[in-house]
Subunit: 321 residues, 2 copies
């Protein structure tokens, strides 16, 4: 039995201790810990890595604090358009959904696309149609409503500006102080199971006041999400456009496969060198088939956590020495 591991993230960006209330810090950490627990429970019950990452991401999608599923930001027309992807490193199977509305758990839709369609990526109204066909739970707009997200949107609607989740100042809102700083709202999980299989999943509500059906890196296999037992499972969070241009997640895999770098070395090189050269702010979490985990970011903070079968349990927000 090999070491099994789960890691999760809840977004990266300008997240500073001095801007965070103690209550919010606790709430974010509890959310991350809960995601770790549900993912870990799958792994310790001999479940697969792909089931574990799905369970962890569902937990974060259901938590209104994070920009995915229930907590998704408002798009330009007041709707919530969500993206998600999942990939199974044992067979390179993948599923992804872009610009879908109404689906309670977009990561479950990505899983259904992987498992029950001949396709990898579906989008828009067609993806919703597929979700209905597969009996996925749908929600109306009130489910996705939060006063905080609504105020974010009200501040920039009517303009052509977009905001990367918490990039909107919300000085009038108690919970908003920390969140008001620049943050890239995405959630994700990576896991190594007892059999040494690995998987990755990512989900996001995108950018506040998003328009034109913009698709970020999260649902792009190779950019925001990638998994391959031979190398690594990666879930990214950051400014989506540079992450797409850098083919970020697969770049880590190639540096391991073709240059022999370790997971940690490859993630450090991509996040602190290659991404920075094209103004790619954000970070990523990763695991390999041996159960090693790494969490690397070039922004001020990243909501993140890791738990493994050797007893490691860490939930972190800021940079730590």
């Amino acid at each position: 039995m090999s070491l099994f591991t789960i890691a999760v993230h809840g977004g990266a960006g300008t997240i500073r201790k001095e801007d965070m209330s103690p209550e919010m810090e606790i709430a974010y950490k509890q959310g991350l810990q809960h995601a770790l627990e549900v993912g870990y429970a799958v792994l310790s019950a001999k479940g697969s890595a792909v089931d574990a990452v799905q369970a962890a991401v569902v937990s974060l999608e259901d938590n209104i604090l994070f920009n995915a599923g229930r907590g998704s930001v408002f798009g330009k027309d007041g709707k919530h358009e969500m993206d998600a992807a999942i990939m199974d490193g044992s067979n390179l199977a993948a599923g992804a959904v872009a610009a879908v509305t109404s689906v309670r758990n977009p990561v479950k839709l990505a899983r259904a696309i992987m498992a029950e369609s001949p396709h990898v990526m579906l989008s828009g109204a067609g993806a919703l149609e597929f979700a209905k066909l597969k009996g996925l739970v749908l929600e109306d707009e009130s489910y996705f409503y939060s006063p905080f997200r609504f105020r974010q949107w009200q501040q920039i609607k009517g303009t052509d500006e977009t905001a990367l989740d918490h990039d909107v100042k919300l000085t009038d809102h108690a919970a908003g102080k920390a969140a008001a700083e620049k943050k890239f709202g995405t959630v994700g999980a990576v896991a190594t199971d007892m059999n040494g299989n690995i998987a990755a999943a990512t989900s996001t509500g995108g950018m506040t006041n998003k328009q034109w059906g913009r698709i970020g890196d999260s649902p792009i296999i190779g950019a925001g999400t990638y998994a391959n037992n031979q190398t690594c499972a990666i879930s990214c969070t950051g400014h989506g456009e540079p992450f797409i241009r850098a083919v970020t997640a697969y770049d880590v895999s190639c540096l391991m496969e073709y240059k022999g770098l370790t997971l940690e070395q490859a993630m450090q090189l991509v996040v602190h060198d290659k991404l920075l050269k094209i103004d790619g702010e954000g970070g990523m979490i990763g695991v390999d088939a041996q159960g090693n985990a790494s969490m690397v970011f070039n922004s001020e903070g990243m909501y993140r956590g890791v738990k493994n079968s050797k007893g490691l349990n860490n939930v972190l927000i800021y940079r730590e020495a």
Copy 2:
């Protein structure tokens, strides 16, 4: 002044000489030659690689023989949903559009997204809205109508089957004999300009009877399209799903950057080894900054052509010894 080169493709698949009428063979070759000429004209007038690939792809989009732009296949609801991408290897700028309707030249929309939006990828109705904002030429359904494509669709509409362009038998149609065989309908171009800058562009009408907003590899940066002056510019054509899972175009780039393979070596390895292992049928065209070009496929044929400033001019369809 370095060697300048343009290569184009018009799809790959089961394309056999014995199934092709002499007239159709001439028509396909003329279409490919025309695309080479317009791309080459840009390069020889000291134009950029990105302008050259756009011009070549526009020429193929405007040609009803190829499954892109005007010749796009019918989707499930009788509409034409198109995907395209373009990438500039000199600065890693990229633009892509997925599941857009009505736009005469989706590659021009991808270019506008790259040049005039803060985003890399737009989709669906939102992408059409952006196209209108930028004044791109729109067409009604009659522009995209061809009796041949309509009959393809009629043969499988009402079912849940999809067909990869010419995968539908059309024994009653003179032009259909060659095209009736399995073929992956996509067009693309790659180019090296006088300054040693390279670029890639890809455009497609997807699969006949396509549903659920399916997105293939063509508009995915790293999968169907990629360009980086340090390595290569690649445009793929094939069964989109395995090409997405293999992050095909960027894999060629990584094999060159991290393992030191030549363009030709990297393309051979990806097409004949890595793609085949996951049933990835199709091919790709590529150039590097020195003006070397390569065209590699694992299917029976690929509509393709290459032209360079040393006088090379080749237009091919089948496997050649």
